[in-house]
Amino acid sequence: MATMDNFTSLSSFTAEIFLAGFIILLLAASFFRKNRESGMGFAYAAGIFGIVGTLLFELQGWTADNNAVYLFYGMLRNDSLAHLFKLLCLLSSLLLLVFSLVSRETNRRFDNTAEYVLLILSATFGMMLMASSENLLMMYLSLEFLSLTSYMLTGFTDRDAKTSEAAVKYLLYGGIASGVMLYGLSLLYGITGALDYASMREFFAGHEVSGIILHISIIMVMAGMGFKIASFPFHSWCPDVYEGAMTPFTAFLSVGSKAAGFAIIIRFFSQIFGLETTTKLGHTFDWQTTIAVLSACSMTFGNLAALQQKNIKRLLAYSSIAHAGYILMAVACRSQLGVTSAFFYLSVYFLMNFGAFLVVIIISNELNSDMVSDYEGLVWKNRKGAFLAAMFAIYLFSLTGVPPFAGFIGKFYLLLSVLEKGRALYWLAGVAVLNTVISFYYYSRILRLMLLSRRLKGADLSEMQRGDYLPYSLMAGLAILTILFGIYWTPLYNFSRLAGMAMK
């Protein structure tokens, strides 16, 4: 793998450069536009243009023969895993922008939209770096980049006390978690004496390291990463921030930043400690069981805590904790198939979760309440209610992992990769399967209220106007994809296999 110096690597870094340039351009443009009220349309349009541009550059720059190339003296590693995760993150921020257009919280009386879009673009930039960073400094920097921008985005509007409270909680918890991670990284740096993954891997291959200090540093590093993907021990911020933040941003948090977090974890563990190859270190330091335990805990905690949630956003928060647990299961498999199924599940999760949040946004636009009880009798209200209920049913069943939908295929691959590891992880498969059943319970509570009960409670729904066909077509599109990938998912699998192969 060639390690290019700064200038040569610029050529394969075009997408990020375009994005950075666009951010600065947008900043300049926003100074000159005086009148505020028309700003909203312009800002979102610009934002979407920026993201789409970056997406195009990204696709163009992607050579399918997945030869990994080290950029900027080994700072970044542009392999197919990086490309795929960048795609996923770009799509999430694209949907974040579109959702912000749709949601009443962020489209009408929302003054400084330009800054809002700017922050989103910079968050995306951070995520793109996260996807490909192969250096401790770069990894920490990009993680902080995303975190800081997320703190600001969470607390962006002062709609009510909840947002600022959520933002502060997010900041405090994030600060401490990344501080602990930083301390772990310093210990790791102390042990290996190098910052980039490749040399660390050589060090571990060569030297005999005493397990304890390594274990401690890894656990501390897991604190920072666990915080990002909201897995069990580091999840406490998740319900409050999901409930407090604006719904489009919550959707983004649950998918985009979680995917970026997983990119870091996958890259960190597979590049340093190696996947298939059982390095000498492999048997002394078994990080597999630690992650397996984390995954089992977050699955079970996420599902059990969600059983009695009253607020739909908190419920989806706990469900996202549970899903983080499921994906961690794939990471714990320490195999290429594991990485493949992790990415597959993340892309399927992208479809289902954004779909579900879109429904939540539209319903909160109409009934402006996030309480699950307000969803009662939705399907009998009018055609729009029926359409929303049907779509939400598809997403919920897919989230449970019931066959005709993509969620099942995702879970199927997870179980496949876990069971392939032989006796060691059978218990984990059992826990995952038990959780599927528990998870149906709270998903079905929403279904029961929406579809099964005939009591017409809450305000009635306005009819489907001509104008707002954007959200409904988007929702239908996501639903069709969820079903399509439930039936014929080879294309998606081929992509995710590339990600798996990138990791050795």
Binding site: V437, F440, L451, W489, T490
Partner: protein, 493 residues
């Protein structure tokens, strides 16, 4: 015509699916068009399965009408369908009962389009389960059949429908999730990773954890049959489901559990099945006696019929556990007969419920004098249920007894005593509802309407004809059953 012949099974399974999409496209307001198109769509698989019935080669034990299309090459998953003596009668039963259920759901007013869309989806799922030979495809159809059932019970059901629908879904989900683990384990354990059931059956000797896998599968299917400890969902699901749905539920869905055990447990883990035979037989007998006793104590007519289904399915389990030709043939024939008889019983309960709007047995009385035709059909159905010789259930029960007695003498004797309890609760119900002084509240109940008669008469004819001349159905399964028995007894030694 040649196209139809070569793609018969996929047509049978996917016509209802396309039909469901068609129904979705119809305008929601024109309910009559939706009803009639649903009826036509369900009749197509019926005609096709009659074609299948005609073309079926009775002397061949293995799979026929095999179709294999690649679905996901990387994981060797393919749409692999075929029928043999075991699945042929079940597919026939399913495609026969569906049009009758559409007829029975004529008076659904709320959300007609949704109802028929889900119903056709359900039918596709059921037919798929019976014809699928690829384990993955089998599991997908198994769960596809689960979804519409949840909504059909949940939305169009009775007062406690939500609770019943949830209970139904959770029970089956627990079972199917265990099955998923075993499917994946089999996939990984087979040398060229494959989901193909026949392949797995052939190379089944190389899996280990056999007992664990056997129980994982068995519990999944036992919940569906239902077998004794897992049966509590059935009475609730039946009482709350609308008439047509409880007909489908009892008529076809219960058979899937037994079919699953035969298709998967028997062929893939024959040695374990041999060892667990006595356990299964005991469960079967408990089902018979316990189901009959519970039925006797019920106040609600529909719950009584539900418990009677548990009791009748007990015969199937006992027959299956005997590994003799008579026993196994009797079991599969009992699955077919029970499908017909319970469908009739639930239709009849639906008829009286539409008129009297309640199902409390004790508050009826002397209906026979007001509704003679209805009384005649119900008497025929109940007598078929208690296994009166000359009607179809007797033959299957006799075969089961004759088959099972060779291996489990005392158990079968106890099961035979079930015949008395069944007769007791059937006649006691008939007496409380039909005979005795006419309860003047019901003095002006209308007799069977044309629609109801059209749906009931074919079933009556089948019940009587199969009782006298059972060969059309029995010949279908004989070869496959003897092959199955040889596999089990062969593996058992």
């Amino acid at each position: 015509m040649e196209f139809i012949n070569s793609h018969l099974l996929s047509l049978i399974t996917f016509v209802p699916l396309l039909g469901a999409l068609l129904v979705l496209a119809l305008p929601g307001t024109r309910e009559d068009i939706i009803r009639w198109s649903a009826l036509v769509i369900t009749c197509i698989p019926l005609l096709l399965s009659l074609l299948l019935f005609a073309g079926f080669d009775r002397s061949f034990a293995g799979m026929q009408f095999i179709e294999r299309y690649a679905w996901i090459r990387d994981f060797n998953i393919n749409v692999f369908m075929g029928v043999d003596g075991l699945s042929m009668p079940m597919a026939l039963l399913c495609s026969l009962i569906c049009p009758i259920c559409v007829l029975a759901s004529w008076n659904i007013e709320r959300g007609v389009k949704g109802y028929f869309f889900l119903f056709l989806l359900l039918e596709a799922g059921m037919l798929g389960v019976f014809t699928a030979l690829d384990f993955f495809l089998f599991f997908v159809f198994w769960e596809v059949m689960l979804l519409p059932m949840y909504f059909l019970i949940g939305i169009w059901g009775g007062p406690r429908r939500e609770y019943a629908a949830l209970k139904f879904f959770l029970y089956t989900l627990i079972g199917s999730v265990m099955m998923l683990l075993v499917i994946i384990y089999f996939y990984l354990a087979s040398t060229p990773h494959t989901f193909d059931m026949i392949e797995l059956a052939r190379t089944n000797s190389l899996f280990d954890y056999r007992m664990l896998c056997w129980f994982g599968l068995f519990i999944g299917f036992a919940i569906k049959v239902p077998i004794f400890p897992f049966h509590t969902w059935l009475p609730d699901a039946h009482v709350e489901a609308p008439t047509a749905i409880s007909v489908i539920l009892a008529g076809v869905l219960l058979k899937m559990g037994a079919y699953g055990i035969l298709r998967i447990n028997y062929t893939m883990l024959p040695d374990i099945t041999m060892r667990m035979a006595a356990f299964m037989a005991a469960l079967g007998v408990i089902n018979i006696i316990y189901g009959a006793l519970c039925a006797m104590a019920q106040k609600d007519l529909k719950k009584l019929v539900a418990y009677s289904s548990i009791s009748h399915m007990g015969y199937v389990i006992l027959g299956m556990a005997s590994f003799t030709d008579e026993g196994l043939n009797g079991a599969i024939f009992q699955m077919f007969n029970h499908g017909i008889v319970t469908a009739m019983l639930f239709l009849l309960v639906g008829v009286i419920y539409d008129r009297a709007h309640h199902r409390d047995i004790d508050s009826f009385g002397g209906i026979a004098s007001v509704m003679p035709n209805y009384a005649f059909v119900t008497f025929l159905a109940f007598f078929a249920a208690l296994g009166l010789p000359g009607l179809n259930s007797f033959i299957s029960e006799a075969l089961v007894f004759l088959g099972a007695f060779q291996k489990y003498r005392i158990l079968t004797a106890i099961a035979a005593s079930g015949v008395i309890i069944t007769a007791a609760y059937c006649l006691w119900t008939l007496q409380r509802v039909f005979l005795g002084k006419l309860n003047e509240k019901y003095s002006l109940l209308p007799d069977l309407t044309v629609r109801e008669t059209v749906s009931l008469v074919p079933l009556c004819i089948i019940v009587v004809v199969l009782g006298v001349y059972p060969h059309p159905v029995l010949n279908l399964m004989k070869q496959t059953v003897s092959l199955l028995n040889r596999i089990i007894t062969g593996a058992g030694i």
